[in-house]
């Protein structure tokens, strides 16, 4: 801290004032996020399409329950929610944001996949009696995750935490499913194993908006829990779709997902090729973590923990391919 090249605050008192102000700001942020009826910040990216952008924070940072992009689409009859955030509190704040904009009922809650930052807010919508919709493999994935959520994310549920707050789909998508919100058809598509084994996209035909879930990461390093090669195949298909807006699972909304898909493709290819080369030389998992795709590091946020995980995942799979 006491680096001579760094100008010191004029006095310790001033330093303390600055620190106090920072702490107050932090406290206010938490307090405002803690209010049950506080509405999330929402942007209307196309008429009737509302997105809350999650923050690019680590999974262990304060605010980790607000890292995913979540939102809703409004038709003439009702509302579809797409992902609900990483806590019941965030789900409730999303619901408050919906209520500020429309009195129409929430008829569908769609989860794009099983990850905690996309599903734990589901419980906030039970009172609306919507249909909860997900990939054909989502129910099983949630069953696998339930104990883990309860052990590690209990603080993100209403107290006391209970398994009843982890809401699995009551309607699943085999290949594709059409929903109608009233003059607003949505096309849901279930994908083969890619980011996870239960990835689902939502396409709003009227605005040309594609919600990719975590099949598309921008800025934040893609996290792999499915299959790197499967994900590459899905990226090729996504790149062929004609869309006017793409809402990624993490990172800013874009009118041209091409470059973002290309960046993701480059990272996944580097993973596969790097692990292949490491295994071909009889390298250990630690060797692979140290060497694979290192040139990609400066292109992404939140590299360290996620990259090691991705390498390990690909290594374990390719060991037996």
């Amino acid at each position: 801290m006491l680096d001579r090249a760094t100008p010191l605050p004029a006095s310790v008192a001033e330093f303390r004032r600055i620190r106090l102000r920072a702490l107050l700001l932090l406290g206010l942020t938490w307090a405002s996020a803690g209010g049950a009826e506080t509405a999330l910040t929402i942007r209307e990216v196309a008429p009737g399409v509302f997105v809350h952008l999650g923050q690019q924070l680590a999974l262990d940072a304060p605010g980790h329950d607000d890292i995913a992009n979540i939102g809703f689409i409004v038709g003439t009859r009702c509302v579809a929610v797409i992902d609900t955030g990483g806590s019941v509190r965030i789900g409730r704040a999303l619901r408050a944001a919906i209520r500020q904009r429309t009195r129409l009922p929430v008829c569908y809650v769609v989860n794009t996949h099983v990850h905690v930052d996309h599903v734990l807010g589901n419980a906030a919508f039970v009172q609306d009696h919507p249909s909860f919709i997900g990939h054909r493999a989502l129910a099983a994935a949630m069953a696998r995750s339930r104990d883990f959520f309860l052990q590690h994310y209990a603080a993100d549920l209403d107290q006391p935490p209970s398994a009843a707050q982890i809401i699995a789909p009551d309607r699943t998508v085999e290949q594709s499913l059409e929903l109608d919100l009233g003059e607003r058809p949505l096309s849901l598509r279930a994908w083969p194993t890619a980011h996870t084994d239960c990835d689902l996209t939502v396409f709003d035909d009227r605005s040309g908006t594609l919600w990719t879930g975590d099949l598309l990461f921008r800025e934040r390093l893609p996290a792999l829990d499915g299959s790197a090669s499967g994900w590459l195949a899905v990226i090729d298909e996504l790149a062929r779709l004609q869309v006017r807006h793409a809402v990624p699972g993490h990172g800013p909304v874009t009118e041209d997902p091409g470059p973002a898909l290309q960046a993701e493709r480059a990272y996944l290819r580097a993973l596969i090729e790097g692990v292949h080369d490491e295994l071909a030389q009889g390298g250990s998992m630690q060797d692979a973590i140290a060497h694979v795709a290192a040139a990609e590091k400066l292109k992404w946020l939140l590299w360290d923990s996620t990259h090691a995980h991705n390498v390990a995942r690909v290594y374990e799979q390719m060991e037996w391919e």
């Binding site: 680590a58 999974l59 262990d60 940072a61 980790h64 099983v114 990850h115 905690v116 099983a140 994935a141 069953a143 696998r144 995750s145 104990d147 883990f148 052990q151 590690h152 994310y153 209990a154 603080a155 996870t196 084994d197 996290a223 829990d225 295994l279 071909a280 030389q281 009889g282 390298g283 250990s284 998992m285 630690q286 973590i289 360290d304 923990s305 996620t306 090691a308 995980h309 991705n310 390498v311 390990a312 995942r313 374990e316 799979q317 060991e319 037996w320 391919e321």
Partner: protein, 289 residues
């Protein structure tokens, strides 16, 4: 599966009280046989107990890293398959008789005991282990002149013992793959085996999965035994063992495995550099039940 992703980061975000609570829940869930104190204290009750059991009255030295080192990644990528690397310096080559790998806070702390053949010039051992909760990991070597040396490291990971089984890989139980380095000084050996810890639950049925693990690995090179390992439930699913020497390993390199159901598997690498020596592998099943 996917939960590994978050498991490696989750403990850090939890309040200390919650972390201890979850540690105790895991402890209860896993039926750990050692009553432990604060989950964050490296000197744990398990080690004191094991030290008395395995090294009674012995002085334990702490030589520097140039003699022996133990590494785990700073960010554990997968609590159920945490990679550990043990390296031995020039002074240790050919002078190690036995190595124990102990994970203090695991329900079965002794992950592996490697008996090293006399004269075997072992420069490196890599293995992957389950880590049940934040823990010290130790490597304790007994030298040929009877000294005991220890290195340890701290691993921030939890949930590795109860993590649900991964998706089944292609192949059959007991398949063995060899991946030599281009200079043949090291050999990566991959074993297809669930290595069920006994603390896993089938997520769909809710039923516990009985333990089923690789209990014994014997490694030889050109007809001479190199390494004889007793292993257990702390090895990862699809266990992996990599060994390196300062000299090329003469073919054939042979692996003999016995699992906890007394099934026997063996395979040999007969030379040549191959990404997968599957074509050279003869996975025997003598004694398979």
């Amino acid at each position: 599966m996917y939960s590994y992703l978050i498991a490696q980061s989750a403990p850090g975000r939890l309040a200390r009280g919650t972390r201890l609570l979850s540690a105790w829940l895991l402890l209860a869930f896993c039926g750990a046989s050692f009553a432990l104190g604060d989950a964050q204290t490296p000197a744990s009750g398990a080690w004191e107990y094991l030290q008395k059991q395995f090294y009674p009255g012995r002085d334990i030295g702490l030589l520097d890293e140039s003699y022996m080192s133990l590494e785990a990644p700073a960010n554990t990528p997968d609590p159920a398959a945490t990679p550990l690397t043990l390296r031995f310096g020039d002074a240790a080559l050919g002078h190690i008789r036995q190595i124990r790998v102990i994970i203090d806070n695991n329900p079965s702390p002794v992950a592996a005991t490697f008996d090293v053949a006399s004269g075997a010039r072992l420069a490196e051992i890599d293995l992957r282990v389950r880590v049940d909760r934040f823990t010290s990991v130790r490597a304790i070597a007994e030298t040929t002149d009877g000294k005991i040396e220890m290195r340890s490291t701290w691993v921030n990971a939890s949930g590795g013992c109860s993590a649900p089984p991964g998706a089944a890989a292609a192949g059959r139980l007991g398949d063995i793959r060899f991946r030599p380095s281009p200079d043949a000084k090291s050999m990566l050996i991959s074993i297809l085996h669930p290595n069920n810890s006994g603390f896993q639950i089938d997520p769909l049925s809710g039923e516990p999965i009985p333990s089923h693990y690789v209990a014994h690995i014997r490694l030889s090179s050109d007809g001479r035994m190199l390494l004889d390992a007793d292993t257990g439930i702390s090895l990862s699913e699809n266990p992996s063992l990599r060994i390196a020497s300062d000299r090329p390993l003469p073919a054939p390199v042979t692996v003999d495995i016995v699992d906890s159901k007394d099934a026997h598997f063996n395979a040999s690498w007969r030379g040549g550099v191959a990404t997968s020596a599957a074509s050279n592998t003869t996975a025997g099943a003598g004694g398979t039940h």
